[in-house]
């Protein structure tokens, strides 16, 4: 998972100005586009979950093969078996949405716990967490997943547990860095002097008030990566199997037609992957620029 550098601004003793008012215009555009994609994915997920679709995604129409996008009734055309591409794209979201959320929850929960441990208690605990982070980072994620697939032939949710664990180091190191930085601040010292229990300071003052933006940003990035993993696995044939659509296996299934010059059945899901992942990346970077005041431009 990608990680951002910590900035050394006056976090904690914050200014009264809302970060949204002083935000860079470009960051706002990024966040706007990202939110648009999030809404689209959410709406499509609900549509797919209730199967409110224009067509049955698995219905084969021999009389309507490779219809171009924009043809009557089929907004995005049909694929090489005459199946409606728009319906298949919408249903394809089912393949990654909930599994992706699971991966994010695991990364954030485990990462925050380890990060808080490392940041608040230096010494041996910190060394252990660092070791764990470096250990997880030693595995190429896809290779680790293939290893787990070979061992257990697991379902997508179990694979996403692995993806979640591989996302832990990024979150843990961010949170630890943030806590180490905040621990020297006046308001934390004041809280200690006032006799507040460490648990309250850590959970409320540090994590709740000052790590939330960071976690939201990591969540958006995590979703982008979960999509990448799911589509890659489906492409490689380890994810959702035909005829159930997922964006990855749609690209793969269209390959032979692609080489015959019928690009659309592969390209439509590829573009969906592109615009969606781009949306989550830009949302993360935009939010980072605005909320964390990074010199990310």
């Amino acid at each position: 998972m990608k990680r951002y550098s910590q900035t050394t601004g006056e976090v904690g003793e914050s200014s009264d100005l809302s970060p949204w008012k002083t935000a860079d215009a470009l960051d706002l555009v990024y966040v706007g586009y990202g939110l648009l994609i999030v809404v689209l994915v959410l709406v499509s997920y609900v549509l797919g979950a209730f199967t409110w679709l224009p067509y049955d995604p698995e219905q084969i129409r021999v009389d309507l093969l490779n219809a171009p996008p924009g043809s009557a009734g089929h907004l995005l055309g049909t694929d090489f078996l005459g199946r409606d591409i728009l319906s298949r794209l919408i249903v394809g979201i089912q393949a990654y949405f909930l599994p992706g959320l699971l991966a994010i929850v695991i990364s954030l929960l485990l990462g925050t716990t380890l990060g808080a441990l490392a940041g608040y208690r230096s010494g041996e605990v910190e060394t252990l967490v660092t070791y764990f982070n470096n250990l997880v980072d030693s595995f190429p994620r896809l290779v680790l997943i293939l290893l787990v697939i070979a061992a257990f032939k697991p379902g997508i949710y179990y694979i996403m547990v692995v993806v979640g664990v591989t996302g832990v180091p990024a979150v843990a190191s961010l949170i630890a860095g943030k806590i180490e930085f905040l621990a020297q601040k006046n308001f934390i010292e004041a809280a200690h002097v006032l006799g507040l229990p460490s648990r309250v300071i850590l959970l409320k003052h540090i994590l709740w008030h000052h790590c939330m933006p960071l976690l939201v940003i990591q969540a958006t990035i995590g979703m982008g990566e979960a999509i990448l993993i799911e589509t890659s696995l489906s492409y490689l044939g380890f994810g959702v199997q035909e005829p159930t659509p997922s964006w990855g296996n749609m690209v793969q299934a269209g390959a032979n037609y692609f080489f015959q010059g019928k690009f659309w059945p592969s390209t439509a899901p590829a573009l969906s992957i592109l615009f969606t992942i781009l949306g989550f990346h830009l949302l993360g970077d935009g939010l980072n620029g605005i909320l964390e005041g990074s010199a990310g431009k």
């Binding site: 994620r141 290779v143 290893l147 070979a150």
Partner: protein, 328 residues
């Protein structure tokens, strides 16, 4: 010899080597645990298809003296690994180490080449935007880096194959297998470029390099260099470009190796990635296990190299307690 007389780089190198070894032991333990928890222990996996009778298997275990406790199993397995004995492939029946060694070079070739391509794209964009600030051209280039990083690499592979092979007939499809050995290298450029562009790290590399370069450009010693008319580039190169470049590349090795799995699949490239895919398909556990170990070793080697470069260009570093802590 007094400790102070030892060259700092030797000391740091020794410590990093020890750390890398410690991490690789951890990696082997994780791999072993996955193997141990998988249905059927390692020895029945190895015996799979050879002896079907359960009692006969148990008898064989006794006869071979297979240890019962997990830690004895782990230690003997680790001992075998250290001797280069990775077991036998279930599919081909050949020793895994030889099988992997046969294809490892072509994967190294692919990944190193694609790293170079990534840098060739990212460095100019990062330098240009850190020097010139936000201009229309910069914004366009940065957007391009974002788009390229979100591209699904398998689709990019299809486009490349279609354009170059089907339309222009430039590269034969099964490049490395079909081509005669002395004409191999030009054909392998296509997958290298596809992986270099599509490994999903371009925008992060651009971002990291730009941030670091901008930071260094604002440092006092650059201002001094500028004031006395010395070359700003020569002063900014080490800290502003060389160190961040090695840092980011070392931290992206896992991604590039992962991307290689897909690109090798698209291009039918006979490498470790394709072998890993095949092994996962066949549940050929010894092979995928060996590949995981070797991939992790490559990742560790990469960060070791990064530390060496860091210490070599920055002698102060040996005094810092930065170590591997939070360094990427």
């Amino acid at each position: 010899m007094k400790l102070a007389a030892t060259k700092p780089i030797t000391l740091v190198l020794a410590r990093e080597l020890a750390l890398a070894a410690l991490l690789l032991v951890g990696v082997s333990f994780v791999v072993f645990v996955i193997l141990y928890l998988s249905p059927g222990d390692p020895f029945s996996v190895l015996l799979e298809g050879q002896i079907s009778n359960h009692a006969a298997r148990a008898g064989l275990r006794e006869a071979l003296g297979v240890p019962r406790t997990w830690y004895v199993q782990y230690l003997s397995w680790l001992g075998n690994l250290l001797q280069g004995n990775f077991g036998t492939s279930i599919r081909t029946g050949l020793p895994v180490f030889g099988e992997i060694a046969r294809v490892a070079l072509s994967t190294l070739y692919l990944t190193l080449g694609s790293m170079l391509v990534t840098l060739l794209i990212a460095v100019p964009i990062a330098l240009h935007s850190s020097v010139r600030g936000t201009t229309a051209l910069n914004w366009l280039l940065t957007m391009l880096a974002y788009v390229v990083s979100a591209l699904p690499v398998f689709w990019l592979g299809y486009v490349a194959v279609y354009v170059f092979i089907h339309q222009f007939g430039v590269f034969p499809l099964t490049a490395r297998i079909a081509a005669s050995s002395e004409r191999t290298w030009p054909f392998s450029l296509l997958p290298i470029f596809v992986l270099g562009i599509g490994n999903g790290t371009v925008s992060e590399v651009v971002r990291h390099l730009r941030e670091e370069m901008s930071r260094v450009m604002g440092e006092d010693y650059i201002r001094t260099a500028r004031a006395k008319g010395a070359s700003v580039w020569r002063h900014a190169f080490k800290e502003g470009l060389l160190i961040p470049m090695t840092e980011i590349i070392a931290s992206k090795i896992p991604f590039i190796l992962g991307g290689a799995v897909i690109v090798e699949q698209v291009f039918n490239w006979p490498g470790m990635g394709r072998m890993a895919w095949q092994a996962a398909q066949d549940r050929d556990f010894p092979v995928i296990m060996g590949i995981a170990m070797i991939a992790a070793t490559l990742v560790r080697l990469g960060s070791l190299l990064q530390r060496v470069v860091y210490v070599a260009v920055n002698p102060r570093a040996s005094n810092e307690r930065r170590g591997a802590a939070w360094a990427e």
